[in-house]
């Protein structure tokens, strides 16, 4: 989605006219034929879409679930599943229209409620003169909305009512996610027109989710007993499985964001390997430098930090730039979660801000550097590094401010309407029983 141009909709009427043109000459017929999606690209984008779904369920559900306590395992996974499902419904009702509608301004769009304007012949432009089927593009983008909403939950687990989570998500998608997606990815969007580089959603997904998570965590408050009582992860085995599924699914997320199965998608793929590998190792090295053991959770955390950081850079960096970016993001994120968080005292339970927010910022700003040809990036050097980095910083700041203000509104409304948190007794007993009437494990 790095330079998405206007969605072109070819109606049935236009295609019906084709035979008449064909009589006038072969060239006219070829013009119409050019709008037909390449089945190879369509097939890859359908695959990429399903890979992003794999990131959510079961990837993120297991990753987050393993990090919570036994009594909140089902609550964590159920919230992720339900929030994603809600995001999908909202996406087709008005979300896609608000982010990628046919008419719009710099901040949001409109004109395609219930996908009324979309048919099986509709196409969405890629970055070359190719197109893909619009239904595939809508589905691909739908999974992005769903995972971003689910990521925010990492800061809210183990204490917020299920109803509050659902209401918060509905409002948050509407006033935060759709406008930011429009600003960054849609033709005419504020940050898009400014020239901000965001290959697969470092700003829209990760900075947005991370900052929103932090603000929501502050509004809903700390878990009872935090930070005095120990709250260790109940199953790092599941977290490790979730990490693996997230990494696999991330190839759909990053390489799919090229919208075609071409060389740039290949670049995004190799970067998604090497930045992640580098970040996983560097997190453990940073632990060792700080006198700790190289840990399993450290490997997993580094992997996620690397994936987050390489998201905006996936097709905008050479492989070595990606390795450096992964390393820097991993080191900075380590200090953010191990030192900054305890010092500031907020309860970002699963480090959605510390890893997605901070890692996203490193990635977004770093993309302005690794994009340059002198570092092996694919840029042509037409925009000076300083200027590009400045545009990246502006985009990051806009995303932070928009996400923070929008989340404050959404979380406050959700808290007022539903009461926000479960009772202290329910929190002690665990949200699995209190909110869902089930236990994750019956031995």
């Amino acid at each position: 989605m790095r330079l998405l141009t206007k969605i072109s909709v070819f109606t049935v009427a236009a295609l019906a006219a084709a035979p008449a043109w064909a009589q006038n000459g072969v060239e006219a017929a070829e013009e119409v034929a050019a709008a037909v999606p390449n089945p190879g690209n369509n097939a890859w984008m359908m695959t990429a879409t399903i890979l992003v779904l794999l990131m959510i369920l079961p990837g993120l559900a297991l990753f987050y679930g393993g990090l919570t306590r036994t009594k909140n395992m089902l609550s964590t996974m159920t919230q992720i599943g339900a929030v994603s499902a809600l995001a999908m419904i909202i996406w087709v009702v008005y979300g896609y229209s608000t982010a990628f509608g046919p008419e719009g301004n710099a901040f949001f769009s409109w004109g395609n409620l219930f996908l009324a304007q979309t048919t099986t012949d509709s196409t969405a432009a890629t970055f070359s003169d190719e197109v893909i089927s619009e239904y595939v593009f809508i589905s691909f983008q739908m999974t992005f909305a769903a995972i971003t909403a689910a990521l925010v939950l990492g800061a809210l687990v183990e204490r917020v009512k299920f109803a509050a989570v659902m209401l918060f998500t509905a409002i948050w998608l509407t006033i935060v996610y759709f406008p930011i997606a429009h600003m960054v990815w849609a033709g005419g969007g504020y940050l898009f027109e400014m020239g901000a580089l965001d290959f697969a959603g470092g700003t829209v997904v990760h900075i947005n989710a991370g900052v929103s998570a932090l603000v929501a965590a502050m509004i809903f408050g700390k878990r009872t007993g935090y930070p005095k009582e120990p709250m260790p992860p109940h199953s790092l085995t599941m977290t490790m499985i979730g990490t693996g599924l997230l990494w696999v699914g991330w190839f759909g997320f990053n390489a799919g964001s090229e919208l075609e199965a071409d060389g740039t998608a290949g670049l995004a793929m190799i970067n998604t390997f090497v930045a992640t590998a580098s970040a996983g190792l560097f997190w453990m090295l940073t632990e060792a430098v700080n006198g700790k053991k190289a840990s399993a959770l450290g490997l997993c955390s580094g992997i996620i930090a690397g994936l987050v950081a390489v998201t905006p850079a996936a097709g905008n960096s050479g492989p070595f730039g990606a390795i450096c970016l992964g390393a820097v993001a991993s080191i900075v994120c380590y200090y953010a979660v191990a030192f900054l968080k305890p010092k500031l005292g907020y309860d970002d339970s699963l480090d959605a801000f510390g890893i997605h927010g901070i890692g996203g910022m490193i990635g977004a700003i770093g993309t302005g550097i690794v994009y340059q040809p002198m570092f092996g990036g694919p840029g042509d050097g037409s925009v000076a590094m300083g200027a590009q980095v400045w545009i990246q910083i502006v985009a990051v700041v806009v995303a932070i401010v928009w996400a923070a203000v929008g989340t404050a509104i959404a979380a406050t409304i959700a808290k007022l309407v539903t009461g926000g948190r479960v009772s202290e007794d329910a929190e002690r007993e665990g949200l699995d029983l209190a909110e869902h009437g089930e236990r994750a494990y019956n031995y």
Partner: protein, 112 residues
């Protein structure tokens, strides 16, 4: 009859079980437990958050044997569970008032 309770290191369970079988013990119960003595727990670190776990995982074995056999059982467990290091555990011997095998109704020593 004596009830012998032994707290041992978990990885020593199989060795102790085999040694007890050879010594003529007919049955035992093993339970996973947590506790602490002179061996304090260890530190766990999750993303920089340190938790001192002052409970160490152990296995608690219980077996009821005849008075004659009891001293030998204690020796056998002590020999099998020993690693010469802190945290090897302890053995307690208690008197037992009565025993009954549910299926046959046999009592006391014949029920063991």
């Amino acid at each position: 009859m004596k009830l012998i309770i032994a707290i041992i290191k978990p990885f020593k369970l199989d060795e102790v079980r085999e040694a007890l079988s050879e010594a003529g013990v007919q049955g035992m119960t093993a339970i996973e437990v947590k506790g602490f003595g002179r061996q304090k727990g260890q530190t766990e670190v999750y993303r920089g958050a340190e938790y001192a776990t002052n409970m160490v995982p152990k296995i608690r074995i219980e077996t009821v044997v005849s008075d004659d056999l009891a001293p030998r059982v204690v020796e056998t467990i002590a020999a099998a569970a020993n690693t010469d290091s802190i945290g090897d555990g302890k053995i307690f011997t208690l008197d037992v008032g009565a025993a009954l095998r549910i299926r046959t109704g046999e009592t006391d020593d014949t029920a063991l």
